[in-house]
């Protein structure tokens, strides 16, 4: 991969900081980064360790801490992609049956009004949604709702929404079709929206 070439082509002694300091300087930051995406603390710890080890091999000099931090984060991102790719081969990654209900159970199945929202399930008005983003309790609810997403759906959602990776790139990296990607994203959004409405906005 491109990133690999970037740091093995020109081995240099580490620049600003000593690798001994890396864990103290960047450990928490990288751990949080990995934890959001991998959701399991043990996996996140492994990813962080792998990142530091790969960085050790490469070695680069930097003009500042933030450049060093970004570089490490870049290595970690690739490690996480590797993890997703491995996972996509081992299980039925697209897992389209899961949450199939999200897609169809909210809508009138037949008869007049077919395809319309079932009355009780139609999206409600979310009063002052923006303010919720400043509320710690909201984030707890968000964490719980996001935690309910199955691993593969969460992975795709995070890549797209948190990292802003282009759909095409997600498809290439994870070897899934664009059609599958859109279905997964759609179901993630349907499920998250419903969970947040039920557990947060409906109670305001």
């Amino acid at each position: 991969m491109q990133a690999e070439n970037e740091f093995t082509d020109n081995p240099q002694p580490p620049g600003l900081s000593d690798p001994d300091q890396w864990v103290d300087l960047y450990g928490d930051y990288l751990f949080k980064f990995a934890l959001i995406r991998l959701r399991d603390p043990a996996k996140a710890e492994d990813a962080v360790q792998e990142t530091f080890l790969a960085a050790l091999k490469g070695g680069k000099s930097f003009s500042g801490r933030s450049a060093e931090k970004s570089w490490l984060a870049g290595i970690l991102k690739n490690k996480i992609f590797d993890y997703y790719r491995k996972a996509s081969r081992e299980i039925s990654f697209t897992d389209l049956d899961f949450y199939a209900g999200e897609d169809s159970n909210c809508f009138v199945p037949d008869g007049p009004g077919k395809g319309g929202w079932i009355h009780e399930l139609g999206p409600q008005e979310w009063a002052s949604a923006g303010e919720s983003l400043d509320n710690e309790l909201f984030w707890k609810t968000y964490r719980d709702c996001a935690g309910k997403l199955p691993e593969n759906i969460a992975a795709v959602f995070n890549l797209r929404e948190v990292d802003g990776v282009a759909s095409k790139d997600i498809c290439v990296q994870l070897n899934i079709s664009e059609g599958n990607l859109w279905v997964m994203l759609h179901r993630a959004r349907m499920a998250l929206r419903r969970c947040l409405e039920t557990n947060w906005f409906a109670k305001r």
């Binding site: 001994d20 751990f31 929202w117 999206p123 949604a129 995070n158 998250l192 409405e197």
Partner: protein, 92 residues
């Protein structure tokens, strides 16, 4: 008049399709025809209009949550030591 109404009905999606289209639109532009049909539906459907706003909100929340979600999480002392040790042997 009836014919026009049925043409309009044909052009515009139902709610199930409208939410799919709005989700898709977050990741890739819709075709002109899809956009027109969706607009017509949204003009008549408050639920789907809310849905569109809400998934945009989800996008903003996900981005921000990147910062807030793990605010209290950190590398355990044990993991910290373990990784430091591993880096030492990796360095030899």
């Amino acid at each position: 008049m009836k014919k026009l109404a049925s043409i309009i009905r044909m052009l515009s999606p139902d709610c199930k399709e409208a939410v799919r289209l709005q989700s898709k639109a977050l990741d890739r532009p819709l075709t002109g025809l899809q956009r027109i049909g969706l607009r017509i539906h949204l003009a008549l459907c408050v639920w789907c209009t809310r849905y569109g706003k809400q998934i945009k909100f989800l996008r903003a929340a996900a981005k921000q949550g990147n910062r807030d979600l793990t605010a209290n999480q950190s590398l355990s002392a044990e993991a910290r030591e373990r990784i430091k040790r591993r880096l030492q042997t990796g360095n030899d």
